[in-house]
Structures are given as structure tokens and as C-alpha cells.
Assembly symmetry: C2
Homo-oligomer: 222 residues x 2
Amino acid sequence: MTGAWLGLYRGGIAWESDLQFNAHPLCMVIGLIFLQGNALLVYRVFRNEAKRTTKVLHGLLHIFALVIALVGLVAVFDYHRKKGYADLYSLHSWCGILVFVLYFVQWLVGFSFFLFPGASFSLRSRYRPQHIFFGATIFLLSVGTALLGLKEALLFNLGGKYSAFEPEGVLANVLGLLLACFGGAVLYILTRADWKRPSQAEEQALSMDFKTLTEGDSPGSQ
Amino acid sequence: MTGAWLGLYRGGIAWESDLQFNAHPLCMVIGLIFLQGNALLVYRVFRNEAKRTTKVLHGLLHIFALVIALVGLVAVFDYHRKKGYADLYSLHSWCGILVFVLYFVQWLVGFSFFLFPGASFSLRSRYRPQHIFFGATIFLLSVGTALLGLKEALLFNLGGKYSAFEPEGVLANVLGLLLACFGGAVLYILTRADWKRPSQAEEQALSMDFKTLTEGDSPGSQ
């Protein structure tokens, strides 16, 4: 739908022209909303698959999201530079930079705790709830930032016509509501206790071993 | 800070003049962000107080929030009517109406399940996670809607000066980030397992009785 909006009302997408700007909303929505949102759900959708497989899929989706978002960022900075526009003055851009920095830090910390070199079971299980919370928060902030950007694009281009219910404005408003609904749906799936990945017998045994050695804590408290 | 922004850069607040518009952002932020956010945290902050007291406080805060938000809504519709501006064309207004309707429905359903006449223990415990999820979602959507409104107010009034880092723009951007951080902080407090209200002995006994009779389920699964 973002593509349809850009194609129908903004002349489509190209890198070497004024249409370079349009690569920004498309890449950000594909990367930081669609792919990031789906990456968050991997442990729910594939909760009965092997943990290693789901972990790799989670990491891969986040790599794609990061790379595509980076292309979107380059597009807008490059466009601003060519046009001589100021950078980073708006609330949209401030939220966007915050999202991108948090996303990158979350990626690095998540990678070093869960993939390579990997922390101890006890450290991982203490970090896991933080990783999930910050993941969800960064995703929701991405959705909020997209709505701010959409609104900015409408007010800059439509101006007074926005209040006359121009088709572009209505389409973009519906797109905004759908992005918010997608955010709500991901949050819902993520927070249902029944849809959480059950701890597998062998993982539980190992983590109990570790806990008994390190803390003497019961696994139910995590 | 919303008050400071309106006082310093928008001429303050009055009902019978052009300043009527300014009652809108102030009331919405006090009602649907500050009071609603704090109402969500009542069961966490007072998790060791009597359940009836916390329940009444939760309900009261939500009543105040609803009434103040209603004043804010009347302010903007009345202002638009006097000025002859179009209503409900922007993404901000669409999100705002969605928030307000959902908030009102959540209030009615919550009231009838938990206060008067009150549903059975089994029904309540099945509805509770939905009530919490929708409560958090409506609150986060309120924050998002506030950011959209703030952005709209800046683009309408500052125009090109926004990109020249006008003090008003910077103050409003910081306000936007603080609203987002407040949303994140409430979500964090709300989702920590350790900060949840422990089920009291007598409530647990009653609810176990009910469950054994109705479902034969264990209380840990809720």
C-alpha cells in the first residue's frame, strides 16, 4: 500500500532524480515495519521448531531489515544534500534517528548475548525479558515514526487540499491506520502467554543445571 | 511542558477566543497521556494495597481522564466550527477518534466486568489479559496521536522556520520525545512480571474453587 501511494500519487521511485525521496518511505516501511515486525514474531509462529533454526531466521530478518532501512536513510540524506534542505530538524527525524540507533544497539547486544560468543544461561535468561521489551518498544516507535513521516509528507505536498478530503489524503490516512493496526497485531501476538515458545526439555534441564550451580534459583521465576 | 509550550509560544489558553484551540493539546495530554498512563500503573504501584481500593483509584483516574479529554475534544470541534475549518480530515483526527471510541468502549466493558454488576471469577480472569492488552494499546495509540497532533501544530504554524531550528520547534520536538519516553516507561513498568500484583490468598482460594468447578484448570495458567 505504501508502494501504491508512492506510485499513484508521487510518480513512483527512482534513485537518480527527485523521485529518490520516495525510496525513503518505501524502504523504511519494508525494513523497520514489515520485516522488523515479522522478525519479532518468529519465536511465536515457529514455536515448535528447533530453537537454532528460529534464532537464525530471527537474526536474518533483522539483518535484512537493517540493510533495507539503511538504504532508506541514505536515500533521504542524499536527497536533502542534493536539494540543499536542512537535515534532522523535525520530530520525525529525531524519532527516526533514535529508532535507528536503538535498533542497531539492540542488534549488537542481542547478537553478542544470544549468537556469538553467547553469554551464560543465567545471563541470557536475565537479559531475555529486556531484549523482548526493547525489541517491542523499538518496533512500536518505528510505527509511530512512520506515521509522523506520512503526516509530514501529506502536509508538505497536499497543503490546504488535505482538508478537502483529496483521494491521496484519504489513502494515506488509511495507510496510517493500517500501520498502527499492524503494530497492535504484532504486540498482541507477542504478549499472549499461550503463544510463547514452550521451554524444551533439554534446554530446561541445562538451564536448571546452570541455575542450581550459579544461583540455586527455580526455573519458574524467569 | 505542554503548558510551557502553549504559554511561551502560543499565547496561553482561554475558552472564548482564538486561544480556545490551545485547550485541546493541554487537555488531551493531561487526560489521555498523564492520567491514563498513571491509571494503568495503579495495580503496579499499589500492588500490596487492598484490591478494592486500587480498583476504585484505577476507575477514578480513568473517569478524570475521560472527562478532561472530552473537554479537549469539545474545545477543538468548537474552535473549528467558529473558524469554519473542516473536521476529521487528518490522520491525527482519525487516530484520535479511534482512540476515544476504543477508550470509551474499554471503560464500559471494564466497568461491567470488574465493577458493576461484575462478572464471575472465571469470566473475569479470561477477560483480564484482554483488558490489559487493550488498555496498553489504547494508551500507546494516544501517545502516537499526540505526536501526530504536535507535528501538525508545528508544520501549520512554523512552516519553513521549523527547518531553521526555531526555539519553538526544538522545545516541541523535545516534548514529543518525552511523551514517547513516558509511553515507553509505562509499558516497561506494566510488563515486568516481578512488579505484577501478587494474587492474594483469599482471592486465589476463591478463584481456584471457581476454576475447579468450571474448568478444572490450575491457577498458574492465568
